[in-house]
């Protein structure tokens, strides 16, 4: 039972990410230069991402993992996010005087875990991926040890996260009891009508719902996002979320989810999540918290597409392709935008993250025109304005919902978009139309650091590219073998 060479090549990205993580920790005593470590970590993230090039479309490790376009897409997504987060963290670590090597190593480990999540075809493998990314995340959340908020964030995340993991594990146990297997293909081939299987999958849904911050499992999100170091928050909002959605989509497209039960489960989950996220964001005065609530809302929008997926097989004529594509496109655009937005928040925050309230953003339009313009672009993308990535993301989710004749869900999504417009707009209004009260604090940031500016530029260009010329990415997410392999 030795693994074949092809299997190892398939998981080459994970091997590279982990390898670079270990190397980073080993290098730390010798390499005192922070920039050198940053560069090294970035090379690691990029190399792992590019290693997907060698993988062949097949299932590996006796069906435990699946190498296909779908997993490659998510590898690219999380690899890109890791790359950008590492670049954005460079100036943050310097400002906060934190050790860089472990930080980058943890990000790479977490990314490897997300990679496993994206290609897992078997529930225990998925569990390993989930734990890899979660445990690294717990540490990262508390990385700013001298800050009480950061420690609170870590403890909260750890306690609630372990609880959710327990749900996930118990779910796996029940599914195994019901179907005699933890392999998704084999689960799919057994009778799906049994209540035990349904209960098991529900528990899995609860566990994963926690990770993607779907209401009512979202309570941890604002506190953890607020307390964690901002680059880490950027990672949380983008990487693990996308990877967990990848697993969720794989599970619920492989098993026979096209039943009323799952339809209503996702329908309710989507609606509750959208409303909780948007209504919660309305009253926030801290921009970081506001973005945390907005990421709950966006999980809700993504779940709308899941509700569409579960109706697809009831009605084969409509075809499932657009709904999958909607999820993938949405997550890509959303992740890049969130990384960009949190990078700006991190830079505006200054030392000790002390300037993150809306008042601190007042007058940003005159003080830092570039940062304000980029932030406006990101907020408009989250809002769903045309010519940004967010618009097409929302558009495709919308289209999937209407394709499946979920008019009411589409209408509720519309209402939520309008609510969302209010609080995103409020940030823009504050940046451009309010003047800052009093003088600028001495330690407030004057401009973006070059590395962060690079991240912001990349994210902004990507946002516009996806909003203006989505053809290329659409071609990938709509390609036939992606869909067939995801099934």
């Amino acid at each position: 039972m030795t693994p074949k060479a092809a299997d190892l090549i398939g998981i080459l990205p994970e091997i590279i990410w982990c390898g670079f993580g270990v190397l980073l920790m080993l290098l730390q005593p010798f390499l005192k230069n922070r920039q050198g470590l940053t560069l090294f970590a970035m090379v690691g993230a990029a190399a792992g991402t590019l290693a997907t090039y060698f993988g062949q479309s097949s299932s590996g490790f006796f069906g435990l993992v699946q190498f296909d376009m779908y997993s490659i897409f998510f590898h690219w997504l999380v690899g890109l996010v890791a790359f950008l987060v590492i670049l954005a963290a460079d100036s943050y670590l310097e400002r906060e005087n934190l050790a860089p090597a472990e930080f980058y190593a943890l990000i790479l480990f977490a990314t490897a875990g997300m990679g496993v999540l994206a290609s897992a075809q078997e529930l225990l493998t998925a569990f390993i991926g989930l734990e890899m990314s979660s445990i690294s995340s717990y540490v990262l959340a508390g990385y700013r040890r001298d800050s009480i908020k950061s420690s609170e964030s870590a403890v909260k995340y750890f306690l609630l996260g372990s609880f959710a993991t327990a749900f996930f594990l118990y779910g796996i146990a029940l599914v195994y009891g019901a179907s005699g297997s933890t392999n998704l293909m084999q689960i799919a081939s057994t009778d799906s009508g049994s209540n035990l299987l349904r209960l098991g999958l529900t528990l899995i849904l609860v566990g994963l719902g926690f990770k993607v911050a779907a209401a009512p499992f979202q309570v941890w999100t604002p506190d953890v996002y607020e307390g964690a170091p901002t680059p880490v928050t950027a990672l949380f909002a983008a990487g693990p979320k996308a990877a967990t959605f990848a697993l969720l989509l794989r599970i619920f497209t492989t098993i026979h989810a096209a039943t009323d039960f799952w339809f209503w489960a996702f329908w309710i989950l989507a609606v509750v999540t959208m409303f909780v996220g948007n209504l919660g964001a309305l009253v926030q005065t801290n921009v970081k918290r506001l973005l945390a609530y907005s990421s709950i809302a966006h999980a809700g929008y993504t779940l709308v597409a899941f509700a569409a997926v579960t109706t697809m097989k009831l009605d084969p004529a409509t075809g499932a392709a657009p709904a999958y594509a909607a999820v993938l496109f949405y997550l890509l655009g959303y992740s890049l935008v969130k990384v960009g937005a949190f990078t700006i928040v991190s830079e505006i925050g200054g030392k000790g993250e002390s300037y993150q309230t809306l008042d601190d953003f007042a007058g940003l339009g005159t003080r830092q025109p570039f940062a304000a313009a980029a932030m406006t672009l990101f907020l408009l993308s989250l809002l769903g304005m045309p010519i940004t990535a967010g618009f097409f993301g929302k558009f495709y989710v919308f289209k999937a919902a209407i394709n499946s004749k979920l008019i009411w869900l589409a209408v509720l999504m519309t209402i939520n978009s309008a609510i969302g417009a209010y609080y995103y707009l409020r940030v823009i209004v504050v940046m451009y139309m309010h003047e800052r009260k009093g003088d600028a604090p001495a330690d407030a940031a004057i401009s973006l650091s070059p590395t962060s500016a690079m991240v912001v530029v990349v994210a902004a260009l990507a946002t516009l590219y996806l909003g203006l010329l989505p053809n290329h990415v659409l071609g990938i997410v709509l390609s036939q073998n992606l869909i067939s392999s995801a099934r």
Binding site: A325, M385, I407, V411, H434, L474
Partner: protein, 528 residues
């Protein structure tokens, strides 16, 4: 005409290039920023005038289309076209933009560069809306235009500007979200987003739209447009936005933005959903009449001059909506005419009110009185514009209102008579406010030494006056060009309606447009 192949794209994006050029100027270079913007907008105006040669008299259908594939799935294409209706609205837009630059010459003091960039970007959005023939592209411009407008109100407006900007944004955003649902639904039904192709599909013999579906689709579009117009119960954003906006913002808002709503009704609601339009028409007409009378009555009691003009817009746009939903060729021509006339007169009124604000920094009517003594030229121009706005024969306002009432009368005399009271009321509020502002003794000392109009303002006003007069006398020049497309729209609303009633299968008239693109879209529809 070698450049005419891309004339429409040039029209849409030339201001954007101008805005880009502005970004390279230093923000202290006020002098050059204003002049460059003015030159760009005047050149744009001249470009738009060249449309007059392209669109033939009495010819329905789109001249000068542009077509380029853009996004593969769903098939979204960059499809532009111009006909008699959109041509004049584009010209109105390009005409009002340089006026806006002039109007803000003294009124805007801070962030001058950003102001002019926003103004030019707004022009891009508006012209895009009028020229787009792909539902998606239309929606895109419709949304994109919101941002510069909200910024114009929110940054350079008056005291309650932020409230007004947010209200404006959310209102329109909510409306357009429903439109997006409608667009996607329509796409699901027809498999295309191309307006002429959808038209063709909907009229196909084999195609049957359930009445309830059609009504919902109609409403999803109509609500978005009605908010923009604004139609009576949805008008509450307008007074705030108008009063708080800077002069330039008000001119564009009243002059062109409101017309995007009525334009949408003519272009989308009526031809795409004829039966639903017919069924909804009585209700819409009643709302329009309520709007006419209500707007006029509120304008009558306004202590605030700018708000008065704002409410007069609610009243006048009520006429336009009424003219559209009577399905009569005369009244619809009148509606299009009224759109243009209102753009000119109300643009001029806001220009004038803005001048007063530049001098005294208040809109309260009670702060003025006897202004005719210190500012005789100003008073004369104001009277001229006010007369045109209330519909004095020989001036532009008369033609539109007259045609609308004439057409409405043939459909329903009661509505026409109710609507006619709006004409009388408009004379009341305009003349009464004129009397309070300009006649009598100068009661406030501050008003004694007000300077009369300077040459910049004078030339702006002279241009307005000439156009007002010309539109009043030379109206056939416009109506002839508008008649073709209007008749076509009326034809669309009739054909299937009659068909349902009597004869079962008459091959519907294909949507007229430039032959090449037409076939293109047709084959695409068929192949799907």
């Amino acid at each position: 005409m070698e450049f005419s192949g891309h004339l429409l794209s040039i029209l849409v994006f030339f201001p954007a290039i101008g805005a880009l050029a502005l970004l390279f100027l230093r923000s202290e270079d006020e002098y050059w920023i204003r002049r460059l913007t003015f030159v760009v907008s005047v050149v744009e105006f001249i470009f738009s005038l060249s449309l007059l040669r392209v669109v033939a008299i009495d010819a329905p259908g789109y001249a000068l289309t542009e077509y380029k594939a853009w996004i593969s799935s769903p098939p979204i294409n960059y499809h532009l076209g111009v006909d008699g209706i959109s041509m004049f609205l584009v010209i109105l837009t390009t005409f009002l933009t340089p006026i806006c630059v002039l109007a803000s010459w003294k009124g805007v003091h801070h962030r001058i560069k950003e102001f002019h960039v926003m103004l030019l970007l707004l022009e891009v959005g508006i012209i895009g809306v009028f020229l787009a023939l792909d539902l998606f592209v239309f929606f895109l411009f419709w949304e994109v235009m919101l941002i510069p407008m909200a910024f114009l109100i929110g940054i350079w407006g008056h005291d309650r500007r932020i409230y007004a900007a947010v209200k404006f944004f959310i209102y329109t955003m909510a409306g357009s979200a429903f439109m997006l649902v409608g667009i996607l639904w329509l796409y699901n039904l027809t498999g295309t987003l191309d307006l002429p192709a959808i038209q063709l599909t909907l009229q196909g013999v084999a195609f049957h739209l359930a009445p309830r579906t059609e009504m919902l689709l109609f409403l999803s579009f109509f609500v978005a447009f009605a908010i923009k117009v604004p139609l009576f119960p949805l008008h509450t954003w307008l007074p705030d936005a108008h009063v708080e906006a800077p002069t330039a913002g008000s001119i564009i808002l009243a002059g062109v933005l409101l017309k995007m709503g009525t334009y949408g009704m003519i272009r989308f609601c009526l031809p795409l959903f004829p039966e639903a339009s017919h069924r909804a028409a009585p209700y819409v007409a009643v709302l329009a009449i309520i709007g006419i009378i209500y707007g006029a009555l509120v304008a009558l009691v306004q202590p605030n001059l700018k708000k008065l003009v704002a409410y007069s817009s609610v009243s006048h746009l009520g006429f336009v909506v009424l003219g559209i939903f009577t399905f009569h060729t005369i009244s619809m021509q009148g509606a299009v005419y009224q759109m243009l006339a209102h753009g000119i007169s109300t643009g001029a009124l806001f220009f004038l009110v803005g001048m007063l604000y530049d001098r005294r920094h208040t809109f309260e009517i009670s702060e003025y009185g006897g202004l005719a003594t210190p500012m005789p030229k100003y008073a004369a121009f104001f009277l001229f514009v006010a007369l045109s706005s209330m519909g004095l024969p020989m001036l532009n306002g008369f033609v539109g209102e007259y045609l609308i009432l004439l057409g409405t009368y043939q459909w329903h005399w009661g509505w026409a008579s109710w609507a006619a009271t709006g004409v009388i009321l408009s004379a009341c509020y305009l003349l009464w406010s004129y009397q309070r502002v300009f006649f009598g003794e100068v009661v406030h000392d501050k008003n004694r030494n007000l300077t009369d109009i300077d040459s910049r303002e004078k030339w702006g006003l002279i241009v307005f006056a000439v156009i007002t007069l010309w539109m009043g006398i030379g109206s056939p020049y416009i109506t002839h060009r508008v008649a073709g497309p209007v008749d076509w729209v009326i034809e669309q609303t009739k054909s299937k309606y009659a068909e349902e009633a009597s004869k079962p299968a008459v091959l519907p008239q294909p949507a007229p447009m430039a032959s090449e693109t037409h076939q293109d879209s047709q084959t695409r529809t068929v192949s799907r």
